[in-house]
């Protein structure tokens, strides 16, 4: 999970950051450019593959009809899993990377559960709801994997269409209503406007940098991951790394995340709108 770099290299990167220079030429508050592909998995209801620098992730969304949780009959369900492919690194072979995957899946799932309109996923109250499964695959770890996953997840959910369903009520009261799945080509999009992206801010020395690369991550004493929604609204936040963060730096990191988050969202939404327009132009 962590790039294997020597102490001398760490020092080099840390000294660079102290002077506001990063090893890939970015500024401290610049994120790496995103390279997104949509609809890469034919069998999924929505999918996306994202390259951010060397980081390479893939997200597939599958929806299915299930009976709702007894405690929350009027809510759909969202599940996220993250699998670290051994293709990325021999570290992930066998059960390696499983704990990391579980941590990231928990972060994504809680971000989605609080931002998706779960009420809109109900097909028949108390009987049938949509379960949305978000399966993520880490194909290469080039740093900032959690952030990349969140962007890919938002993109994959944005292109996901819930199949049309027709509910035929039975004649008597005891008859089970029949549910028929419509054609895949038509369907309703999910409301994803509130789904946040996760912005990672690393503290290297006394400065903070956003979207750390694989080489920068081991140099950081601490990394904060903020889920930032539209307008800079904050969702979940978590910290990794063994160091403490000085109080002024904490507020600076918070601000950096709140500035970058909406920027990434705007960029992503612009791309999604453009590709949707291109798709409908092709269809016409």
């Amino acid at each position: 999970m962590q790039a294997d770099i020597s102490d001398a290299e760490k020092l080099y990167i840390a000294q660079g950051v102290a002077q506001g220079v990063r090893n890939d030429g970015r500024g401290c508050h610049d994120a790496r450019p995103l390279e997104l592909e949509l609809g890469v998995v034919a069998q999924a209801n929505g999918s996306a593959r994202l390259h951010v620098g060397a980081t390479d992730v893939m997200v597939g969304v599958k929806v299915s009809l299930v009976s709702p949780d007894a405690a929350e009959p009027a809510k759909g369900q969202v599940f996220a899993t993250v699998e670290c492919s051994s293709c990325a690194s021999p570290e992930f072979k066998g059960r390696g990377g499983e704990d990391w995957g579980i941590d990231m899946a928990a972060a994504l799932q809680s971000a989605l559960q609080s931002s998706l309109d779960l009420g809109s996923l109900v097909v028949l109250a108390g009987k049938t709801v949509w379960a949305v499964h978000l399966d993520c695959l880490v194909l290469n770890d080039g740093g900032g994997v959690l952030g990349a996953l969140s962007v890919a997840a938002r993109a994959a959910l944005a292109v996901t269409r819930l199949p049309k369903v027709e509910v035929t009520m039975g004649e008597g009261d005891d008859d089970e209503p029949e549910i028929e799945l419509g054609d895949d080509s038509e369907g309703t999009p999910m409301g994803v406007t509130r789904v946040p992206v996760i912005v990672s801010v690393a503290q290297i020395g006394s400065r903070c940098v956003v979207d750390p690369s694989a080489e920068e991550e081991p140099c950081a004493s601490a990394v904060l991951h903020f889920a930032v929604g539209p307008g800079g609204r904050l969702g979940a936040a978590t910290k990794t790394g063994a160091g403490g963060i000085p109080q002024p730096a904490l507020l600076e990191m918070l601000e950096a995340a709140q500035q970058l988050g909406p920027k990434v969202l705007r960029e992503l939404d612009g791309f999604l709108a453009a590709s949707a327009a291109a798709a409908s132009a092709r269809a016409a």
Binding site: A106, G232, R233, L234, G235, A237, G244, Q247, L251
Partner: protein, 281 residues
């Protein structure tokens, strides 16, 4: 006793299912919370050290109905499978008693324990001078006796107190507290009932004298400005708590010294001296 609603036409008395008590509609009125606290006030805090005699260091923290016991063992030699390391390792294990929480099955409990342990490890690690403990392991065990809200914060505070009690070299004490955003109002140290109705929750662990934050966990939804205010409130809370922790440690040490002097003078006798200091806010 409310009469069971009898259905017309049936003589069989309808059973009354046991329902949890209805949650109060408003948690805050006129700047006072249900338990009589102000918005930015802790619950009644009670801290104690050296509660488990076998451990190198131990502590007990009680924030009203949230009760946590923490013990530190070690440092001991690290396991061979982890290989050589020039820094020490903090091994944190957390558990809930079977009666600590109302809801959740075994599975949920185990997941919560794992999550709490990793949260505590991250909160405590920056405070311990692990560079002075090469090849060693410090075991920190935390048991939540009763979960009445803000367990993670109370557990981190208790664990840090136990580390200090064990005489482990620390950069600073770690104090932790939670803040909840309940309908736009920021509540310090929320109880379980308050946390259940929060729109956003935040846990902050800090080393107040160093001015460093060691753990931050946020959940829910925060308006941009509210997050900042909540952070500042939590930082203030941590500083306040640290003062209480320091007093507890000092009072315990003073009591021990007094005991030793008395033992030296009388030549034996005397049971364990209670070095507890209660902190009332």
């Amino acid at each position: 006793m409310a009469a069971a609603p009898a259905t017309a036409g049936s003589s069989k008395p309808a059973s009354v299912p046991l329902q949890p008590l209805p949650r109060p509609a408003t948690l805050v009125a006129d700047g006072t919370r249900l338990d009589g606290r102000g918005l930015e006030e802790f619950r009644t805090v009670f801290l104690d050290t050296r509660v488990i005699s076998r451990a190198a260091g131990s502590a007990y923290a009680e924030f009203n109905s949230t009760k946590v016991m923490a013990a530190v063992y070690g440092p001991r030699q690290g396991e061979r499978r982890f290989g050589f390391s020039d820094t020490g390792r903090l091994n944190v294990e957390a558990c809930f008693t079977s009666f600590a929480r109302r809801e959740g099955g075994r599975q949920a409990q185990r997941a919560a324990e794992k999550e709490l342990a990793s949260c505590l490890a991250a909160a405590l690690e920056p405070s311990v001078d692990l560079g002075k403990l090469p090849k060693s392991v410090l075991d920190v065990y935390v048991m939540v006796l009763e979960a009445g809200g803000s367990e993670a914060a109370v557990a981190a505070t208790a664990a840090s107190l136990a580390l200090a009690d064990a005489g482990v070299e620390l950069f600073d004490l770690v104090a932790a507290c939670s803040v909840s955003d309940v309908s736009g109002q920021l509540l310090l140290d929320p109880s379980a009932a308050e946390a259940a109705q929060q729109r956003g929750g935040l846990l902050l662990a800090a080393m107040p004298s160093l001015g460093e934050v060691t753990q931050l966990q946020m959940s829910g939804d925060w308006a941009p400005g509210a997050a900042r205010d909540a952070l500042e409130l939590a930082l203030g809370g941590c500083a306040q708590l640290r003062a209480g922790m320091r007093d507890t440690l000092l009072a315990a040490e003073a009591a021990r010294q007094q005991q030793r002097r008395r033992d030296g003078g009388d030549g034996g006798g005397g049971g364990g001296g209670g070095g507890a200091a209660a902190m009332q806010e």
